[in-house]
Structure formats: C-alpha cells, structure tokens
C-alpha cells in the first residue's frame, strides 16, 4: 500500500473512530490528502484575578539573587530596562514553594510555553485591565475577533458572567470586541451545544438551515446593509450617529461573512454528538428557570446565591467544566475555529466551596485572591489562592486531553498540535494588581519574588509555534504577544493596535 493510500486509510479509520459516518469519513480522508496547509484553531481561556507568582515561577527563578534577571522589571516601558529575552527550551515544572498551579498541564509540557515579563502599557489600573488584555487598548479588536475575521472563521464566545440588571458590565465584564463593539459571551451551554451538535444524529434536524436559506439570509442581509448605509448617509455630519451606524454595518458584514452560524458546514457533519459533562443537569435547570423575555438569565442565577439552595453557586464550577469540554469538542469537530472562554468577570466575588471546601463562604476575589505575598513561600492563604487558579488549569488540561488525538483534518498531527490555546488573566499578582514584571520584595532575600502576568501558550498552532519553552522578557507590551499569536494563526499583520512593538520570535518556529 503506497503512502497516500496509507494516509487515506488512516484518516478514514480515525474518522470512523470519532463516530463519523462512512461517507463523511471518506470525505475527510480525501480532504486530508488534498490539504496543503495544516488546519489552525485558537482557544482563548480567561481566568480572573491573576496568580500568586511564587506558585508558578519556574527555574531559572525570577529573584534578585539570580544574575540573569538582576536588572529586569526596573522600568516598564522605559529606556532604563534591560529588554533582553531569555529562553529555556527544556524547563522543569518545579517551583520554589513546591506547589505548582501548572501541575495539571504536566502531561502536555512539551506543548506548553510560558512567557514571563509581559507589561500592560495602557492606562487601566486594576481589574478593569480585562478590557485591555486581549485588545491592547480596549479600542482595537480582541485577538479572537481579529483572528476570526482574518481567517473568515467561525468564532464562539462562551462565558460565565453576570450582568448588571441583565446588562453587560462594561467595566469588569468585557473581554472581547470587534468593530461593532463589545461582545457578550454566551452563558447558555445548552443553547450552544444544541447549535453545534443538535444536528449530529443519524436523522438530521429538519430545521437545520438549508443551502437555500443561507443564500436567502445573505440577500436579506444585503438589503439591510443597504438600508443602514443609506441611513448613515442621511446623518452625515452627526458624528456620533454615523459611528453608531458604522458599527451596525460592521456587525452586519461580520454576520454575513460567517453566515450560517455555528455548527457544521453543509456536507461536513460530525455524526457523534459528544457527551459534555453536566449538560443534562443544565438542560433540566434551563427548563425550570428560563423566562423567555430574557430578563432572567438562568445561568446568572446559578452564579449567585439563591434562596434555599444548600449548595450555593454550584453552577459556576459546573459551567466552567462544561464550557471547557464544549470548546474543545467544537474545535475538534471543526465546528468553530476560534473559541474564547471567559470564566467569570474581573472582581467576581462569589465563594468557591467546590474548590476550597474548608472556606465555603470566602469570596473568590476579596477573600481568596487578595492575599498579599509576605515572604512566606508556604503561606496557607496564598496556597489556597493558587489552588483555585490551579483548578482553571485543570480545565485547560481537560481541553488538552480532548484535543490530544489525531486531528480529523490532519491525522498526521494531533488536534492539539494544530491549536493555539492561550490561558491568561487580567492582572499579575492578585493582591498587588501588577500589570508589569515587578519586584515584590517581602521577607528575606531568598523569598523575594517577581510579580508578572500569567501567559500560558499550549499547542503547536498548526506548526507555527515552537512549544515547550520558558521565555522571559523584560516588560514587553502584551500587544506583542497578541501579534505573535495572530501570526501563529496565519496573520500577516505587522502591528496589533497602537501599542505593539513587534513579534516575540522566540515563540515561533
């Protein structure tokens, strides 16, 4: 059997193993041959409240006695800083404290790169950095929207966020935006699951839009685009009104470009709907709680204390677990190329008894993350904080587990090797709200640490990333990382908003 036939057969068998039908599996196998470029996907994974750096910092440790980094962190963005980049290709996942919040990612260490020393150059001060962390300046498009537009790809935005009287919190809750403004994440896992996998049965859903509907939708969108354009012309000179209508136009154009919504494209169907953890529970809860006028978000209620519930705020952890699996399967099955998960909002204050059972009522933000580093590497309070943040890394590990299998579209590689997962937070140290590489001198010198942003990049990016590296920069602007990840996804952009200075080549092949 020649190599092409072997490849085709291998793809065919793997596709069958995923539950795909014979015709679809055959199609995939032919596509694998026809493909000249590896597929690329991106998952952006936000977790709030930063990190206790002593529980993630690896060798060579960032500490003042380490000559390598003696002058690092002294002058973010200024001329006095060192601006050197240090790379370790074969780092060890150990910390000075002995507790490592990255431990769940140990099985994927060869796919895990860590960037230390990023800097948020914008004017936002604390948790409101959430609006800058993927945009650079809260004005530019966020990385997921930028990449999705460049790839003409379908994007999926999942979240576990509350709202202010059912309105999006524009201070602490916004993460993603495009030319049409801030995006609102979808809390409802049942809705997303049904959209992605509702057709995935032997008998396709008769309500699935047909090819004709897609064309009719585009025609209708064209009509609306024309009307909005005319209205914008009619208000020429009223700048604010023109801008509103421009944003509306951008929204319509984006929707038209991604017409058809999420879910399998015609002719490409994953015929085995995956089991997503807790989905059945959510489906039952949704039927009980949801009101159709949209004034009650049943999953918002699940993030809050509810009367008479013994296990308050359970659903946050369940939501996060469900959404991680949903994201990974959506990517694996080719139903979304860019996925963003926004776990909570900045300054989210609900208890996490499911993670810290010995502190059932302590709030995540105020009581747990706001624990200052006092020089004690074994501080129980800081370890508690690290434990909660490690829990999110367990979700990332679960995504890696799902993706760590032959890519149906490129079975020579795993889906993880063809994906970029970027896990991040809006601040560095949760107590100090650091937004740069910053020295935190507390206690005796051996116990001194640096505070810095968590930036974990997992996956191969379809061959563009050089994974498995510990990269230390001296206050490179975060937009540089965003630019680099965009490049990994195939973008030819040379800048990312007004604050980037260039790529971080050490992350790339």
């Amino acid at each position: 059997m020649n190599s092409e036939a072997k490849l085709q057969r291998r793809v065919f068998l793997k596709a069958l193993g995923l539950g795909l039908t014979l015709p679809v599996a055959l199609r995939f196998s032919r596509m694998a041959l026809a493909a000249t470029a590896r597929p690329k996907r991106m998952i952006l994974y936000y977790f709030p409240h930063g990190v206790p750096n002593e529980h993630m910092d690896l060798e060579p440790f960032l500490m003042p006695s380490n000559a390598l980094f003696k002058n690092y962190g002294s002058d973010p963005g200024g001329s006095g800083s060192v601006k050197e980049t240090h790379v370790v290709s074969d780092y060890v996942l150990n910390t000075r404290s002995g507790f490592n919040l990255l431990d769940p990612l140990a099985p994927y260490k060869n796919q895990l790169s860590i960037v230390r020393g990023l800097w948020q150059p914008g004017t936002f001060g604390t948790h409101d950095c959430i609006g800058q962390i993927l945009t650079g300046d809260a004005q530019f498009s966020s990385l997921d929207q930028f990449v999705a537009k460049e790839m003409n790809a379908k994007s999926l935005f999942l979240g576990s966020v509350t709202r202010v009287n059912a309105n999006l919190d524009l201070t602490n809750g916004v993460l993603c935006r495009n030319e049409a403004g801030w995006r609102s994440p979808e809390n409802d896992v049942v809705k997303v699951y049904d959209e992605l996998f509702g057709n995935v049965t032997a008998n396709p859903n008769p309500d699935t839009p047909t090819t004709g509907d897609d064309e009719f939708r585009k025609q209708t969108l064209d009509l609306t685009i024309g009307e909005v354009t005319a209205m914008r012309k009619a208000v020429a000179g009223l700048t604010q009104e023109e801008n509103k209508l421009s944003a509306h136009l951008a929204a319509l154009e984006n929707i038209k470009a991604q017409s058809g919504g999420l879910g399998p494209a015609p002719g490409e169907q994953c015929n085995a709907a995956p089991d997503i953890v807790h989905l059945d529970d959510f489906r039952t809860q949704k039927a009980e709680y949801m009101s159709n006028d949209g004034t009650e978000y049943w999953q918002d209620g699940s993030l809050s204390w509810r009367q008479s519930e013994e296990d308050h705020k359970t659903n946050f952890t369940k939501l996060a677990e469900s959404q991680a699996e949903l994201a990974a399967y959506a990517v694996l099955c080719g139903q979304a190329q860019v996925v963003t998960i926004q776990n909570a909002w900045a300054s989210a204050d609900y208890p996490v008894p499911q993670i810290l059972s010995h502190r059932p009522t302590d709030s995540y933000h105020v009581n747990i993350s706001h624990q200052g580093y006092t020089g004690d590497l074994q501080s129980a309070m800081r370890i508690d904080y690290a434990t909660v943040q490690q829990w999110f890394m367990q979700r990332v590990a679960r995504m890696c587990e799902i993706l760590n299998q032959p890519d149906p579209f490129d079975p020579e590689h795993t889906a993880l090797e063809n994906t970029v997962i970027y896990a991040f937070s809006e601040i560095g140290d949760g107590d100090q709200h650091t937004k740069s590489l910053m020295r935190m001198w507390q206690g005796a010198e051996p116990d001194h640490i640096f505070g810095y942003y968590p930036a974990f990049i997992i996956g191969g990016g379809g061959g563009s990333l050089a994974p498995g590296r510990l990269i230390t920069v001296d206050n490179r602007p975060i937009p540089d990382l965003l630019l680099t990840l965009a490049k990994a996804m195939g973008s030819s952009a040379t800048s990312y908003g007004p604050l980037s200075t260039g790529h971080i080549p050490e992350l790339l092949v």
Binding site: H127, N172, R183, G212, M231, V235, T361
Partner: protein
C-alpha cells in the same frame, strides 16, 4: 500576623469595606493610601464604575462628573441635538410582542441586555448600539418570528389572499401591513419596491411563503424598525417621530394608531396635549415598568436577591425576596398613589411590608404575605425614604459587616452625580497592621481619614457613617457586635457636601440631603437624561425648575418633560 489574618478574613475584612483611596481619585492624582483593597463588583454604584463604560470606547478610568447643568443657569429650555436612537431591549421586545403576539413570545432567542453608561444606567442613546451580538440576536429572532408568521396555517388566517392569490400583489399587502407596523410610519414607494424585489428574488428560487418569510426578516431587522429617529426636518420632528418618542419614552411601546393620528393631525404640537398623553402612558402597566426599570438600575436594589451575606438572621433567605418586593411596592405607592416628589422619595417615613418583613425590621403592623400580593403601609420607627430600604442598605454592605464607604459612594453617585475614577498606580505601602479601632467605622477612620486617603474619602465616607445604625442586612442596631465585644454605634458625621452640616443618623442625613439644591439638580437631571436618552444641557429648564422647587411630583415631572421644546424640535 494571626490577628492580621483574622482581621482580613473575619468581620473586619476591609477589602469589601474600604476601597483604597487610590481607587477613588476624585479628580485628583493620588499616589497611594490604604492597604490593598478592591473595588467591589457586587456594588454597581462604587468607584469601579468610573472607568471604561462607554459602549465600544474605552475610557481611561479617570472618573469625573455626571452632574447635570443647573437649570437656573439656563436662559430658557433649548432643544438638543438630532439623534438616531436604537430601541432598547424592552422596547424591541414590546414592539415585536404587539405586532406578532404569540409568534414573538414563543421565539426562543432572547435579546442581549443593553449597555449601561458610567453611572450604570441604560437608555443612553450614545452607547446603545447594534453590536454584533445584538444584531445576531435580532436576526435570529426575526427568523424565528417570520417562520411562525409565514407558516401556512398562520399565514392563511392572517392574510386571506395567501390562499386565494399568492402573488406579488398579496406580497405587497403583507409588506405594507407589517412594514408600517414595524417602521411606525407609512411606507413610501422606495420601501415597497425594495422589499418586493427581495420577495421576488427569494420566492422565485423557492415559493410564496418562503419569499414572505425572508421579506419579513428584512423588515424586522431593518434599521427603520430597530432605531427610532429624532432627526426631524428643518428643525422640527416629524409627526411620526413625535408619536414614537412619546410612546417609547413613556411606555417602551410602539405608538398606537390613535397616537399616530393625533400626531398627524397636529394635536401633539400642543405641549399640554403631549403632557396629557405622557401621563396616560405612564399610568399604563408598561409605563409603570419604564419607571421601575429606572429605579432598579439607579439603585440595583434587586441585587439583594443574590448578594453574598453571612452572619444573618435565620429567616434572612426568606426575607430577601420580600425586601425586593418591598422597594418596588414602596415606589409604586410613593410615585403613583401618593404622587410624591424628590423630597418625599428621600424622607418618606413609611414602607410597605407584610408581618414577617415588618417584624424583621422591628416595625409594628404589616399585612398578609407580600409575595402573594399582600403587604401594607407600615410606619418606620427608624430610617427615612428610599435609601433606608432593606434592599438598599443590605446590598450596600459587605458579607458580614457594613460598608460606610460603599453606602457613601452610592449617595455620592446617585444624589450628587459624582463618579469617582480609578487611579493609574497603586502603592501598597500602608499595611493593615496600622489600622486601629474596635468598630468598622473606627477602622475606616484610621485607614481613610487620618492619612492621605482623606482627600477622597472625607467626601463620601461621612455620608456612609450616617447609616451605621443599619446593619449589613438592613436591620437597626445600637451596637456593633465584634469578636472583641460590643461597641456603641456612632452615626454622627460632618457632611462636607452639605456645607459641613453636622448630622447624627440617617434621618438627619436624608433630611439635609432632601433640601440640597445639588441633590435636587442631580436627581432631576438624571431622570431627564433617562427620558431623553442621554446627557445634554438646558433641554428641560422649565420642568426641572418646578420639580426642584417641589411644585411637581416625580411622575408629573416625567410627563412635563414632554412639554419642553426639545420634545418636538432639534437644533
């Protein structure tokens, strides 16, 4: 260290109490103060709201002022600028409900919430946009509604020609019927031609019903449906615009045929007629909901349903929903039954409660279960007005202790229209071990008012001290019970914002606030901005002068805004 940790973890945890003054740089540049603390996201009225809030545009977090212009400084009422106002979510939903009935109410897609401005109020036309999510949701709902409306059995009953002569003439009839309802005006020939062209194209590739379905999708998501214009012609709003403005401003609903007819006949050119129509609309159920929505956003009092609280009475969980109902009923009574004014809002000495709720507060009386439409007027033995409501004092607290800072900030934002911002840098030199005091107030005074933090905190912490007799779950107390013992409450303060008025307790504070011209101007201006859909100066001089002098009730004031020239003119 142990005491420090206990302090941090326990009742005296300041993180939810004392925002670092560096977070509250009110027009000043402060370097640092206070131990590392945090803005509280559960408090929609706190300093964290001073940063980026504009829909789509990131502010720098510098805070600032939202103080409306004093109407007495205006020579006369003058019209504002021309606007294209996106319908709010409530307006869109009501419109679709009125036109499509069951087809709309059964559409599964919910519209996203509206953006809120820097003081967390929606209905601001400058930030209410058709974002991608809203546009997608409108499209999704449009398809759902259109599918239901054009299903053969529905269509044949609502459009007789669909079964007898399904052709372009019938399609025109369909387009006119729904187009005029959705656009809230007659369609011109260009509109008709545009939609007939879409119908022709789609039906030609499918069938009559499908052609109508996608035509209806276009009508529902059209900018002529999702926006209401206040553009006018030659400086005067058109009759259709005035009819829509009245109906949406005062009932979040599309204009009735009767109201459109009055507009077309010129009756609505008369300010008194507009005032009367506005009053009628406010008296409807939907009109009431418009008013309630304002107060829900203004105070976020419904957060009492979900905030985290510990060390509470056994029946607190049962009482929470009653508190939310109590506030709603109180507002209904004060605004609509008693026709209260701003002073009444701040100093009313009654509330609405059932027996359990009254007993919870320590009041006498109360009727049957308020959750079952019960509840009656109950005299307060402590606390005055809206800000004494359990839903407000209980929300503006920490998990186990009160928060004078949060309460003070609430008053600063809502009654003085000042919006503290976030600093650019935070210095955590000051450690918690330097804090002294037995009570929450004493610790705040030690950390906020005896350091450089005072520059900001002396502006609003005293407002919060006046509330110290209200515990963290809305009940009265004479003492603060701590791990170190019980200590008498000190609710006295000197309020700089009231010309250094000395007060002792919430009652004296609210009485002083109710006569403050700054407060009257802020509240009346905020209401005006809410009705008119954004900030601007001097649109409302006549109406605001009257409400500030106590001549009109709040509901009357809202209706009087329809009398102003701005309602029918634009510059």
């Amino acid at each position: 260290m142990k005491a420090l940790r206990s302090f941090l973890l326990g009742d005296a945890h300041l993180a939810r109490n004392a925002l670092p003054c560096a977070l509250l740089a009110l027009l000043l540049s402060l370097s640092a103060c206070g131990p590392p603390q945090s803005e509280d996201p559960d408090d929609p009225g706190d300093g964290s709201g001073g940063s980026a809030t504009s829909g789509g545009d990131g502010d720098t977090g510098s805070g600032g002022s939202m103080v409306p212009q004093d109407p007495n400084s205006c020579a006369e009422s003058t019209p504002g600028t021309r606007l294209v106002r996106r319908l709010t979510r409530r307006e869109l939903t009501n419109t679709q409900q009125d036109i499509f009935g069951d087809a709309a109410s059964s559409a599964p897609t919910a519209l996203p919430g509206d953006a809120v401005d820097r003081i967390r109020l929606s209905n601001d036309s400058s930030i209410l946009q058709m974002t991608q999510d809203t546009t997608q949701a409108v499209l999704d709902r449009a398809e759902e509604i259109a599918t239901a409306v054009t299903a053969p059995e529905s269509l044949n009953s609502s459009l007789p020609c669909a079964s007898s002569s399904p052709d372009a003439t019938c399609a025109s009839e369909f387009i006119k019927k729904y187009g005029e309802a959705l656009f809230r005006r007659t369609l011109d020939q260009a509109d008709l031609d545009r939609y007939l062209a879409l119908y022709d194209s789609v039906s030609g590739a499918s069938d009559f019903n499908t052609g109508l379905k996608w035509t209806l999708v276009g009508l529902i998501q059209s900018p002529h449906a999702v926006y209401r214009t206040e553009l006018g012609q030659g400086g005067a709003l058109t009759p259709y615009e005035i009819a829509s403005e009245l109906s949406y401003d005062y009932s979040a609903s599309p204009p009735s045929a009767d109201l459109i007819a009055k507009a077309l006949s010129g009756e609505l050119d008369d300010p008194e007629t507009r005032y009367e129509e506005a009053k009628k609309l406010l008296a409807t159920e939907r009109g009431g909901e418009v008013v309630h929505q304002f107060f829900e956003e203004w105070l976020n009092y419904r957060d009492i349903l979900t905030v985290s609280r510990a060390k509470t009475p056994d029946n607190f969980e049962a009482v929470r929903p009653k508190m939310a109902l109590e506030t709603r009923r109180f507002l209904e009574t004060l605004l609509f039954e008693k026709e209260g004014n701003i002073s009444d809002l701040l100093t009313a000495n009654y509330t609405i409660a059932d027996q359990e709720l009254a007993s919870y507060y320590g009041f006498s009386g109360g009727s049957a279960d308020i959750t079952q439409d019960g509840g009656s007027e109950v005299e307060r033995t402590y606390g005055l007005g809206l800000f004494a409501q359990g839903s407000v004092t209980g929300t503006m607290s920490s998990i186990t202790i009160t928060s004078p800072t949060r309460r003070g900030l609430l008053l600063l934002r809502r009654l003085f229209c000042e919006v503290p911002g976030l600093p650019e840098a935070i210095n955590f030199d000051l450690t918690v071990s330097e804090l002294e005091g037995n009570t929450t107030r004493e610790r705040l005074e030690a950390s906020h008012l005896s350091t450089s933090c005072a520059k900001c905190h002396e502006r609003f912490d005293p407002l919060g001290f006046g509330f110290e007799h209200f515990d963290h779950v809305g009940r009265y107390r004479e003492e603060e019970v701590t791990d170190n013992g019980s200590f008498p409450i000190n609710a006295s303060a000197t309020v700089a914002l009231l010309d250094d008025l000395a007060i002792d307790g919430q009652e004296q504070l609210m009485t002083g606030l109710s006569t403050s011209s700054a407060v009257l101007s802020c509240v009346s201006g905020t209401l005006s901005n809410y009705v008119y859909g954004g900030q601007a100066d001097c649109r409302d001089k006549d109406a605001r002068v009257r409400i500030m002098s106590g001549e009109t009730s709040i509901v009357d004031y809202l209706a009087e805004l329809a009398r102003e020239p701005h309602f029918v003119e634009r510059k």
